[in-house]
């Protein structure tokens, strides 16, 4: 079966003054329809850059990105823009400060002609309720929301478009555990009911463990490991992956035990 999304030898180089940054370095991977692919890796390893290229915010310096077997052009058609949605890492910068929350969500529905015009305002209220916010937040401006409330608005907007692929860049990092659990549950339900595909960028391995089907590990712009979530956690091949699992702050003694056994394994590997 053709993968819904495919990256072939994708690289991205930025120039900052006299400095060159190879943010993404020869990366290839496929994403199957209906799967949740977690993308993890240290800060600055190129995760958001990959997300931005998938969205067509800027093109790769080298390589191609295909959607259902067709190479995506650097300027995207509206249908592609609808099919692939992004929840940005910093939700404040992705919401227009001059628009109310309701107007921003409404705009997304208008642009893509989703639902009947007369029902859209109501639909906006429903979307907010789905992410655990009261419908009357429609009339509030982004500046009057807390960090986690804004993050949920950004998620609601991405889901509004009824897209096929949703790229989520640290979508739950500002959420407390209760809201996080509810949001993950909602994402899981939508994945089942609508057959959504997720590319889920996060540094939170406990979230990865509980939502992802496969995990891609990045280091320094390179893809160093890609495997099922079970294999990554029970038998991580890459030392960086092992380090990540070993450093998760935990709250129970069982989890602490898991960390210790990993470190021992690592010690054996190094011996």
């Amino acid at each position: 079966m053709t993968p819904i999304l495919s990256l072939q030898s994708v690289s991205k180089t930025f120039t900052v003054g006299a400095h060159e940054v190879r943010a993404v370095d020869d990366v290839s991977f496929d994403v199957a329809k209906g799967e949740c692919l977690a993308v993890v890796g240290e800060s600055g390893s190129g995760k958001s850059t990959i997300a931005n290229m998938i969205l067509g915010i800027y093109p790769p310096s080298e390589g191609t990105i295909s959607y259902r077997g067709t190479v995506l052009p650097s300027s995207r058609e509206l249908s592609h823009r609808r099919a692939i949605q992004l929840v940005q890492q910093n939700p404040l910068s992705s919401l227009n400060p001059k628009r109310t929350i309701g107007a921003s969500l409404r705009l997304a529905l208008d642009v893509h002609g989703i639902g009947e015009r007369s029902r859209r305002w109501e639909r906006v209220g429903k979307l907010l309720e789905e992410v655990g916010l009261p419908a009357d937040y429609r009339s509030r401006s982004p500046a009057t929301l807390s960090g986690g409330q804004r993050q949920r608005v950004a998620i609601a907007r991405a889901l509004a478009c009824e897209s096929e692929i949703v790229v989520l860049d640290e979508p739950t990092s500002a959420l407390d555990v209760l809201v996080q659990a509810r949001t993950l549950k909602l994402l899981n339900e939508l994945k089942e009911s609508r057959g959504l595909t997720y590319i889920f960028i996060t540094h939170d391995l406990s979230v990865v463990r509980n939502i992802a089907d496969r995990v891609a590990v990045f280091e320094n712009g390179k893809l160093v490991e890609l495997d099922t979530v079970e294999t990554i956690f029970s038998n991580p091949a890459d030392p960086y992956t092992r380090g990540l699992i070993g450093a998760v702050p935990v709250v129970t003694r069982e989890e602490e035990a898991l960390r210790t056994s990993l470190t021992e394994k690592e010690n054996n590997a190094n011996a």
Binding site: F14, V16, G17, A18, H19, V21, V40, G41, E42, S43, G44, K47, S48, Q89, N90, L92, S93, G132, D136, S139, T144, S146, G147, G148, Q149, R150, R152, D169, E170, S173, A174, L175, D176, V177, L178, V179, A181, R182, L184, K185, N188, H203, L205, S206, V207, R209, N210, F233, G243, L244, I245, A247, V248, P249, V250, V251, T252, E254, E255, R259
Partner: protein
């Protein structure tokens, strides 16, 4: 006995909106002694960031905000200070790492220029080259591997975690006596987060800095804080030393929080009850943790 670095008594806040007043803080009391690391944890929208903004004096200027209660900094009532005096405190003796990078990083200036401004608040005559040297050293401390490139960049040219570390370095640059850190590590992966928290801990220990650490990540709080206040819907519901709280969470809301954490042992997304009347149960104070002047 010296006064606590921060003492908040019965702090109340409401916002005026279309539909009348909305009460956000219902009388919060908390304190932080010199050199102490205190965490404020609670759900999204519970009032953590607004508390921080009031301490810094940022909400007082807002027309829609109604505030009452007292905030003392090193024994002095902040309300009694002149605006100029409060302004001088910010960024020098009191500094903050904001939850959202756009509140503290200006998109149109390079990091180098912004760092220079921060350092000038303490040493007005400091030159750009000297500031760059200092900044580069501080960035290296927060595990930034290419400080020169980062200094030459605009915020949009840096990753989320790099921007967060820049903010952390800036907030620590002037060795404040009170550091307010609002979700300081959310965009950092665990290895960098652990390093950054370790650095923060070293610096605050060395300079005897008091820290108000705002976070929803209980794992991080467990590793960083001496004492914890749990806040729910604008009220403190439980207060205790970190060990007391983690070994024996007593308030129903704190217990729910602990149960909702996804485990790396992988048991699926936890099942939780979002809202419960139980969460409104009265404040639980652990042994030996009363507010100064009150009996525990």
């Amino acid at each position: 006995m010296t006064a606590p670095t921060l003492l908040i008594r019965d702090l109340r806040l409401s916002f005026k909106g279309y539909s009348g007043l909305v009460e956000v803080l219902h009388g919060i009391s908390l304190h932080i002694d010199k050199g102490e690391r205190v965490a404020l944890v609670g759900e999204s929208g519970s009032g953590k960031s607004v508390t921080a903004r009031i301490i810094l004096g940022l909400l007082q200027t807002m027309r829609t905000a109604r505030i009452s209660g007292t905030v003392n900094f090193e024994g002095r009532d902040l309300e009694a200070m002149s605006r100029a005096e409060r302004h001088r405190l910010r960024g020098t003796k009191m500094s903050m790492i904001f939850q959202d990078p756009t509140s503290s990083l200006n998109p149109v200036y390079r990091i180098s220029e912004q760092f220079h401004e921060v350092l000038k608040r303490m040493v007005p005559g400091i030159g750009r080259a000297e500031a760059d040297r200092k900044a580069a050293a501080m960035l290296a401390d927060v595990s930034i591997t290419e400080p020169e490139r980062v200094l030459a960049s605009y915020p949009f040219q840096l990753s989320g975690g790099m921007n967060q570390r820049v903010m952390i370095a800036m907030a620590l640059a002037n060795e404040p006596s009170l550091l307010i850190a609002d979700e300081p590590g959310t965009a950092l992966d665990v290895t960098v987060q652990a390093q950054t928290l370790k650095l923060m801990r070293e610096l605050v220990t060395r300079h005897n800095t008091a820290v108000l650490f705002i976070s929803h990540n209980l794992g991080v709080v467990r590793e960083f804080a001496d004492r914890i206040y749990v806040i729910y819907k604008g009220r403190i519901v439980e207060h205790g030393k970190a060990t007391q709280l983690f070994d024996n969470p007593r308030h129903p809301y704190t217990r729910a929080l602990m149960n909702a954490i996804p485990r790396i042992t992988g048991e699926g997304i936890p099942k939780i009850q979002d809202n419960s009347d139980e969460y409104l149960a009265p404040l639980v104070v652990h042994e030996g943790c009363g507010e100064p002047g009150e009996v525990a």
